[in-house]
Symmetry: C2
Subunit: 441 residues, 2 copies
């Protein structure tokens, strides 16, 4: 397409593309916008190396003129986007790119991939946080994420939504997060006995250890942990907790709490892991399980119940004229846009860029960004994440509870402005030509 646009002399015509989520997955009434910092970093770094161009020449048949154009192309456009950590809803543009047509078109796959993954995972992580009601959450997902790349991003968005730590050491180092992990069953099975395994572990482990107590028989494992807690106390140290990774976590956590309390170890915490997600955390806490922290892995790491979003990147304006497509079920709204939020999450309004706010106090969500300048992700990923996290905390506190429900959440009101309605509402006739369908500039 870019080659065709160049051949037609239209590669440099100004075009606006809008990235939004067409429909929310089942059980979701909101999304957490994420991935913008990486998207901006990608825009700032957009270029084709000599090797890339040689590869393209080998894989497909292109005019030399196009290959030359690729060699020099950079992102020279403008971006308006919703800052990371904000709550957004279906059909609201997350990101709008205004750039030379061929450039904006070439960015489609890259921008969609980055924003879709992180927004999917951040939303899942926020749901886990809602279910955990203030208990500690740790990201345990790296071993089964869809690739190493996804493993880094899930650690990032977990931190963004308030997780305490990650088991991904590389992500902890890259994003400045606390790293966390505990022993595995293999460590226990490799020792002469469970108590010897515990003793060896706490000897080498410098912090306050957490002991995995379900390798063979959980009640015995808890008793062994109690014995270790006493040995540690005698040495002036502290057992942080025990971890349960299998079985009936309600019954086993109660048993563990009873025995620990009975031994005077009321400050030893109970951690749970193994096949958890927001639904299971909610069920466990609803059943009164005395669990203080959750290690959440695979179902979070792949967003198992909704592993993707219907994200799209659509041309909405070209050469100053709003455009749209009318494909059944996939129609788009023409023109560059702004999203206004009424105070207190009282409803959003999607309008045309430049329209007045729907009421005084309404806040515009899309903010002008300069790739490379506003994006500090490439130079300081820790600082970018810290800003996004503060933004999320403020949004999360304000978002009314009914929208956060795990099942059958209350829908949120998103209207179209009168200006956008007027632009979109023109009658569609079968057999119309594109020209007839064009909205006036």
């Amino acid at each position: 397409m870019a080659a065709a646009l160049l051949a037609e002399g239209r590669a440099e015509v100004p075009a606006t593309f809008s990235l939004f989520i067409r429909r929310l997955p089942p059980s979701r009434a909101f999304l957490v916008a994420a991935g913008l910092d990486d998207a901006l970093a990608a825009l700032a770094d957009f270029h084709f190396t000599g090797e890339d161009v040689a590869t393209l020449a080998r894989v497909a048949s292109f005019e030399p003129q196009f290959l030359e154009w690729l060699r020099d192309v950079r992102f020279t456009g403008r971006v308006r986007a919703v800052p990371e950590g904000r709550i957004i809803f279906a059909n609201e543009p997350l990101l709008e790119v205004e750039a030379p047509f061929a450039v904006a078109q070439l960015l489609e796959t890259c921008l969609l991939n980055i924003v879709t993954l992180q927004t999917t995972l951040a939303t899942k992580a926020a749901r886990c946080r809602h279910a955990a009601s203030g208990r500690t959450l740790v990201d345990f997902s790296l071993r089964r994420t869809q690739g190493a790349d996804a493993g880094m991003k899930v650690a990032r968005v977990c931190a963004l939504t308030g997780f305490a730590a990650t088991s991904n050491v590389a992500a902890a180092a890259h994003y400045g997060l606390p790293a966390s992990g505990t022993m595995a069953h293999s460590y226990i099975t490799a020792h002469e006995s469970e108590i010897e395994a515990f003793r060896s572990f706490v000897q080498s482990y410098r912090g306050d250890p957490v002991l995995l107590v379900d390798t063979w028989d959980t009640p015995t494992g808890i008793d062994h942990a109690i014995q270790i807690a006493r040995e540690l106390a005698a040495a002036g140290r502290h057992l942080a907790g025990v971890r349960l990774d299998s079985g009936d976590l309600v019954a086993e956590s109660r048993l563990a709490r009873d025995r620990l309390d009975g031994a005077g170890l009321t400050d030893v915490a109970i951690f749970a892991s193994g096949g958890l997600d927001e639904y299971e955390i909610d069920r466990l806490l609803g059943a009164g399980a005395p669990i203080d922290g959750f290690g959440v892995g695979t179902n979070l790491g792949v967003s198992a119940d909704a592993p993707t979003l219907e994200s799209v990147y659509k041309l909405v304006e070209v050469d100053g004229r709003p455009v749209a497509k009318r494909s059944p079920g996939k129609a788009t709204l023409p023109g560059a846009k702004q999203v206004w939020r009424r105070p207190g999450f009282a409803g959003d309004v999607i309008g045309r860029l430049g329209e007045s706010p729907p009421e005084s106090g309404a806040e515009p969500l899309l903010v002008e960004m300069t790739p490379g300048a506003d994006s500090v992700a490439a130079v300081d990923p820790t600082e970018a994440l810290a800003k996004a996290r503060r933004r999320f905390e403020s949004e999360w506190t304000a978002l009314p509870e009914p929208h956060k429900r795990l099942v059958d959440p209350a829908g949120y009101s998103v209207e179209l402005s009168s200006g956008l309605q007027a632009l979109s509402r023109r009658p569609v006739r079968a057999g119309m030509t594109a020209r007839e369908d064009r909205s006036p500039a």
Copy 2:
């Protein structure tokens, strides 16, 4: 754990870990083994740079002795594995690593991540192939895969299972695959009219083009494509096909076929895309839709109905002694293993390594591999993939149809050998110690 093993003087004790899938996801009766070449490449490249070690020292508190050990550690063990492209079933080891304990333990997350992703995606791709019954399949998934890494791997395993091409140009170049793509709706909406967009596109496109006909009104789009086909024919060129990306694909593909045939264009193919997966392809073909090829995207790229596998990497032998864990629902089988396949997929037998085959003609699935030597992935990913693809073709032809069914597939018989049963069957008492639970060497 590795630091604790080193402090105990057990880092170098020989240990065997077994990687297998505990249970198959719903609707799956088989899996396609994939990811081995990348796993072997990772083993061959296993090391910690000076920077990695400095990072670890910063993130956590380790003894200098352990950090020194990390600086020199390499993979020095042995690997037995099921070659890529073979069909496997639940509980069958895909990969067994025999290495110094601390080394084998450190590899867990990396090996699980690589093998889980590619096996998940290869299985999904094989199901799409089954549904397509010989029609052309193209991987369209990159824009919504869970990261760029996953986007490369899905293109790879699609080729492994018989897809014709991928829209991921980087993967096409890296793995030596045909690259494929067509125009997007944005290209059409940016032109004065649909027919002008088609005309411009075929002028710049050097091959046989495929035209996207559903941007505004599909019947009109088909008529425009017919007109272009005639113009191309007059210039000695050929229209490869039309693509439908929305609406009622059964009705629209029939309409397209009727009009194309009516115009004498029986050799112009019909491609479909938009929210497809194996279930939808099966439904379309079952309803008699005259579709010649499918572009399969998001649902394939994230394996939407089963985005992960219950893959585990378990210690099964240490210092020559078989070990197991007994956690409820997560018990493991002790000892190093071999999997035997009876001829004609008549059943598999999981046995102890070194046991005799269950019958003459039974084939061992796990093969000794040397990381770096057998793995040509790092040096020639194209050749490694070609070998895996030939292996898959042979397996796929032999696998009986009932196991391939998309819904309620027939289960496949996997037995334990008498030797493995004897080793595993020892009674478990509550409160036993690890020593009592140990199987005899």
